[in-house]
Amino acid sequence: MNPTPFDIFVLPFTVGMSLLFAYLILKYASWIWYFDRDDKLRILRGLFSLKSLKAVKEIFLESLVHRKMFLVNRRLGYMHFSLAFGWFLLIVIGAFEAHIYMGGAAPFYFPIFFVYFVPDDESFFFARGFVQLMDASLLLVLLGVVVAIIKRFYKRIVGMRSTTNLRLRDKMVLYSLWLIFPLRLFAESATCGLHGSGGFLTGTVGSLMAATLPLEAIEYPLWWAYSIDLCLFFIGLPFSRYMHIPTEMVLIFFRNWGIKLKPDNPILEEVMVLSCPRCGVCIDRCQLNTAVGNHDTQAVYFLQRIRNHEQHSAQAKNCLMCGRCESVCPVGIDLNAIRLRHRQNFTPETFVPQYNNADAQKVDVVFFTGCMGHLVPKTKDAMVKILNASGDRYWFMDADGGICCGRPMKLAGQTAAAQKLMDKNRQSIIESGARTLVTSCPICYKVFREDYNLEGIEILHHTEYIKRLIDSGKIKVDKKNLAVAYHDPCELGRGAGIYEPPRDVLGSVATLQTTANERKNSLCCGGSLANLTLPSADKARIAEQAMCSLTANHPDVVATACPLCKKTLARTQMAPVEDVAELVAEAMKE
């Protein structure tokens, strides 16, 4: 047992760290306190289950290794990885080193300042190994810091066209973070230089410092500076973006325990907002940035405004909800759901629908084309032809127009009103006695699947339905000599996970090309009903961007599976645009 080492310079660190811990414990407790009963039960049930282990694994992979960020942007991923994982190694290895040295309990500041208190004792277990490991970890962090500093000034070095803008407060904390590791390096190296000890890094830097600097005079102030800087960072952390570090881990636990974002409970949203590390991956994914030049509405800025209690209703409305940002967010924040939450209560919910659907017909299949379907008669007629050939008894529910599916209202934040529309449609669908509901519109499709509660009725997008008809031989098609590029509608692809059925169908009637942006990475056409404010000319710009990518290999036809996408893309006149159903109808054998 060694005597407990102490020096007054450890106090700033100790105070800062204690305050941070106290703050975090209160914060975590308050979140759990404000969860509703169901969520509290979920936490209780989840705490000692496998879910917690899964969360730990996820924390390791995402918060430390930054796996997802690596997948999106390798250099940015490396920066976050080396900072987070390197620091994690410093803490863990340092703790082992200190506790082995002490033979058990060590005060919690001790591992941090270990080199100062134990500059050249190599008598304990694995002492030389620890020195080298600690140096290697420090080097890893320092390399990350170098990339971070360069990124701040030359963002393209990490392959980003845009990086986040910072407030003064964030800058102060950012600089204190940058300083921590160089200060640690110089403080440790000074001590090592004085004692002729240290690993490959601190030893080398130490002997260089010993040769050029009056180490006796500067060693002690360097340790003070290191301690004070840590203190500043810890005190500033809860008020800066670095709050994401202790929050993201909690979010991962909550998510694994099954807690979901609800319109009426703001707690999980707060956790998500604080979890955003502002890596900025969402900025370059956003077509409002790349096609329209908006630098104010991307997820990172929107969350920042919520966090800072700044005006954000314009940002809440100006979003395509295409899901491109959400699909790559390394933290997995429910960006669309948060956006939608902030659209609530713009308007009174006094809506009473004063209209009804046509009387239901008793059938096997209900076909719902959707509002926009009436503006693309070629698609509508193709579906009628296919349905007639299918042999199924069907009812074209909105042949003469009908009640909207309700999703456009939901997207505008009018959940209660939307529910009233849904109830009317639901009643008509159930009255028909059908077992299958087919729709041409991905917007309708998503809401039918997620909100309609149609037990016993299978909900199919027309591409899924057509695939079945082809697979079962109910309709026969000829493969035509036609090169087709397929545009994934956001609501059907990222929104509902339907990527393959339209491709399978197209494969049997034409030759499908691959495009640069497809499936999860497909571009939005710009016509999105989710964006409440985007001007018509800007929508056209986004459509052009999507069409540039789709027509890169000069297809004969651009195919899609959404009436809104079709109209929006056709407007560009860059290639003929047809719905998958139209290509099938044209390829059908009579």
Binding site: L375, D381, Q573
Partner: protein, 343 residues
Amino acid sequence: MIMQQKNIAIIGGGPAGIEAAASLAGLGHHVWLIEKESELGGHLRLMYNLFPDKRPADEVLQEMLSHVKNPNIEILTNTQVADCKQIDNRFALKTDSGQTIDADAVLMATGYRLFDAVRKEEYGYGIYPGVINSFELEAMLKNNALKNVKGEVPRRVILLHCIGSRDEKVGNHYCSKVCCVTAVKQAIEIKRRHPETEVFCFYMDIRMFGPYYEELYREAQEKWKVTFVRGKISEAAANLDGEIQIKAEDTLIGKPLHMRTDLLVLMCGMEADTDEPVARALGIERGANRFFRSADNYTRYNSTNLPGVFTAGACTAPMNIIDTIANARAAAISIHEYLGGRN
């Protein structure tokens, strides 16, 4: 002083090209009149009669063509310009048949492209046989074969104005000017032949810009009992009989209006021919509406950004026949001046 004979290449043998060729030849110049089709006349060949006097289009065309029977005019039909270069202040043109033309000036008289109504899918053009465009109606009138899809005289015809004009959804903010009066002319022609057929014009604004046009509009209402409804049709669908069901708003009443019709005629507007090869090769500037940009809209209407390159007719803006003829003559004078005809 007798001016040396100059050579002018006119691209396009429609009304503008024909009239400019006649004028320039009359001024003593040598003209190549280059037409990609097998005959001169352009869109005028497709017309039955012309507003406001209802004079037969063929008669007008024949009179114009009689002016180009001139030894100074070389007519090249079935000919397209494959290549065009400006060398100093001369123009070297090469046709697809291999002929080379050395010109002192070029006159673009390339006309317009009819808006392709397929781009307004909601009206069902190209999907439902009962939906036709204004040139197809004109052809029916010319061939005396106005029929619905069942081959009968239609009981009702709706003419819908502003297809592809004043519509930012197809990228055309401008008014095509002639479609309103064309609709009135065609409505009268239908009623003159088939008084029992009901004819409706659905319009946003009625723009009767020329002399005797407003009178024609009044005649359509008063004498021929054509009905005018103020409202743009939003969509059309066919029923099993091939009848077309339209949806509109009668904006003067403020109520949605549904109506069935045998024929829905889309009054398609004019668009610039942006693929025209000579303009591409020379780099003639276009305006926001994609028609050729005038050097000055007031004083140098027929001049372009390039000295020696002039424009006439509907390649500069939507234009009727009367204005096209006047515009072509103005272009001829502008070219004559450019070539030193007036010092």
